[in-house]
C-alpha cells in the first residue's frame, strides 16, 4: 500500500468561522495506480491534495505514505518526504522564471545534496523523458505552456519519487496541448509511476483508472473508469 489515510480531517479557523475542509477521508491507493480526485470548487480537493502532498498536516486522522506515518511529522521531516517521495505538477507550472529549464529540473536534487555532475546527468535524463532535451538552456518565458508543463513534469520525475501529484495540470493549457500532457502522464503511468491527478473536469479525470468524487470534504463515491478508457481508445 503506497497511500493509506484513516479518517483524515482538516479544520481551518477563518476569523470566528470554523471550516471543515476535509471531513474524515479514508482512501487507499496502491503503488503503480493512476487515480483522479474530482470535485467542484470548495469540495476540499485542494486541501486533500495538500495533505497527500505533505504540504500540510491533518488536524486529525492518520496518513501513511510508503510505509511512513506522515501525519505526525515536523515541517523539516515533511520537507524531506516532499523531496524524496513526491513530485508536484501545478496548474500554473511554478517554475523559477529566471532559471533555465535544466536548472529548474535540477532544483529538487540541490536540496538532497546530490553532487553537481550527478544532478546535471539526472536532470538531462528527466528532460529527455519529456522530450525537451533540446530546450535545456531556455528559460520558462522562452517556452510554450505545454513545454513549461513538461519541464515541471521533468522536475517532478527527477528524484524518482514514489508519487506524482498533479493539481489541475491542464488548467492553463488549450485542449490539444492538455491532451498531449495527459498522454505523457499516461506513458509515465505505463512506465510504472504512481500518479494522482486533482481536477474538476471529467474529461481529464477519465484518463485515470479510478476516480474519487469529493463533495463537502467527504468522498462521495468511487468509480473504476478503466472500461471507459479501454472502449474509448
Amino acid at each position: 500500500m503506497l497511500i493509506k489515510t484513516v479518517d483524515l480531517w482538516k479544520t481551518y479557523t477563518v476569523g470566528t468561522e470554523t471550516i471543515h475542509a476535509v471531513q474524515g477521508v479514508s482512501v487507499e491507493i496502491e503503488k503503480g495506480e493512476y487515480v483522479a480526485i474530482m470535485g467542484p470548487s470548495g469540495s476540499g480537493k485542494s486541501t486533500l491534495m495538500n495533505l497527500i502532498g505533505c504540504l500540510d498536516s491533518p488536524t486529525r486522522g492518520e496518513y501513511h505514505l510508503n510505509g511512513r506515518r506522515v501525519s505526525a511529522m515536523s515541517d523539516d521531516e515533511l520537507a524531506y518526504i516532499r523531496n524524496k517521495e513526491i513530485g508536484f505538477v501545478f496548474q500554473t507550472f511554478n517554475l523559477l522564471p529566471r532559471a533555465s529549464a535544466l536548472h529548474n529540473v535540477e532544483l529538487p536534487l540541490i536540496y538532497n545534496g546530490t553532487s553537481s555532475g550527478e544532478r546535471i546527468r539526472k536532470a538531462k535524463e528527466a528532460l529527455k523523458t519529456v522530450d525537451l532535451e533540446d530546450r535545456m538552456t531556455h528559460r520558462p518565458n522562452e517556452l510554450s505552456g505545454g513545454q513549461r508543463q513538461r519541464v515541471a513534469l521533468a522536475r517532478a520525475l527527477v528524484n524518482n519519487p514514489a508519487l506524482i501529484l498533479a493539481d489541475e495540470p491542464t488548467g492553463n493549457l488549450d485542449t490539444a496541448t492538455g491532451a498531449e500532457i495527459m498522454e505523457l502522464f499516461g506513458r509515465l503511468h505505463r512506465e510504472g509511476n504512481t500518479i494522482i491527478i486533482v481536477t474538476h473536469e471529467r474529461d481529464i479525470a477519465i484518463y485515470a483508472d479510478r476516480i474519487f468524487y469529493l463533495r463537502d470534504g467527504k468522498v462521495e463515491k468511487e468509480e473504476d473508469v478503466r472500461h471507459i478508457k479501454n472502449s474509448g481508445n
Partner: protein, 399 residues
Amino acid sequence: MKIALQSLAANKLRAILTLIGVIIGVATVITVVSIINGMNDYVAREINSIGTTTFIIDKYGMITSEEEWIEAQKRKKITFADMKAIERYCPHCDLLSGSVYTRRRVKLGDKYLSDVDIVGTDENYIEVSDIDIDYGRGFIESDVKHNRTVAIVGPEVVENLLSGLDPIGKNIKVHDYFLRIIGVGKKRGSFLGMNKDNWVALPRTTFEKYFGSRRSVEIRIKAPDLLSMQLAQDETRMILRSRRGVKYNQEDDFGIYTAEAGMVLFRSFSAAAFFAMIGISSIALVVGGIVIMNIMLVSVTERTREVGIRKAIGAKRRDILWQFLVESVTLAAAGGLIGVLLGVILAGLVSELTPLPASVKGWSIVVGIAISSAVGIFFGVFPAVKAARLNPIEALRYE
C-alpha cells in the same frame, strides 16, 4: 550559496543602490583610520626626534587650553641663572643647553626672508636638539663667551638667500646686525605645515646683546641614560621649585616636556578622533544595515512564490534561511569591499592633496569587510527567518 548569488546578479542596480549606506560607512572607517594611523606614525617620529633621554623645561609646559595659556603667561620667566643652578646641583643632568627665541627678518644683498626663527643658544644646542650640522661647524664655548657675531643657518635660509653660493663665511643681516655663517643645518622638512628649516642660530650672549635679555629661557637637558631620566627630572624640578619659591602645596610654575609625555597627550587626541570616527561610521552602518534589511524584506515578499516552489520540492527551513542570509551577507560584504576600495582611494587623495599624512593598514581592510559582513548577518537574519517560516501552501498561492 549559488542560488543566492544568482539572484543578486539579476538585480545589480538595486543591489548597488542598497549598498550606499554600507559603502559610506566602511569608506569612512578606512579613510579616517588611515589618516589617524598616518598621523600617529608621523607625529610619533616627530615627538621622538628629541630623544628618549632628553627633556625640555620652559615656562609654559604643554598647553591644551586658552585658560592655561593665560595662566602660564603670568608666570616668572626662566633665566640662564636657573640653568647654571641646575647644571651645578643636578648630578643626573649630563648636558644642558639654554635657548631663547624670536622672529626677525633675515637679509642678504637685496634678498630677504621675513619671519625667520632666531635662536639664541650655546655650544650644546646641536647635541640636545634634533638639528644636525650638514656642513661647517657648530658653536664652541668661546663663541658664547666672547659674544661672537657668528651664525648657523637652516637649509631654507641657504636656499632662499645663498643659492648656488658657498654659505660658509658669508655675512647675513639679521634684523640690523651682521652675522657670519659658520655652519648649515641638515634639512628636517615640515611638520603639520610648519617649516622646520627656516632658522638662524647665534650665540645666546650675542642674541641678548641685540634683542634684550627679558625672554624666558627654554632649557634642554639630557640625562646620561634612560634610567637616570626620572631622577634628572626630579632633581631639576626640586631645584627650580626652590629657586622660584614654589610652596610645597602649589603646582609647578613651569613645564617639563618629554617625548613620552608628548606621546601620551597625542594619543589622547587621536583616541578622541578615533571614537568620533567610530560614532560617525556606525551611524552610517546602521542606516546601511536597515536599508539592506528593507530591501531583503521586499525581496522576500517579491519571491514568496519562489520560496513556496522551493519548499514544495523539498527545501527545508534551513535551506531557505541560508539562501537569504548568504544573499544579504554577500550584499553587505560587497558593499564593504567597495567601501574599502573607496576608502583607500580617499586616503590616498588626502595624503596627496593635503599636508595630512595617511597610511592604510592591512587590518583596517579586514575589519572593514568583517564589519560589513556582520551588518549583513545582523540585518539579514530577520528577513531570512521570515522567508524560512513561510507556509508553502500560502506561498504557492501568492500572486
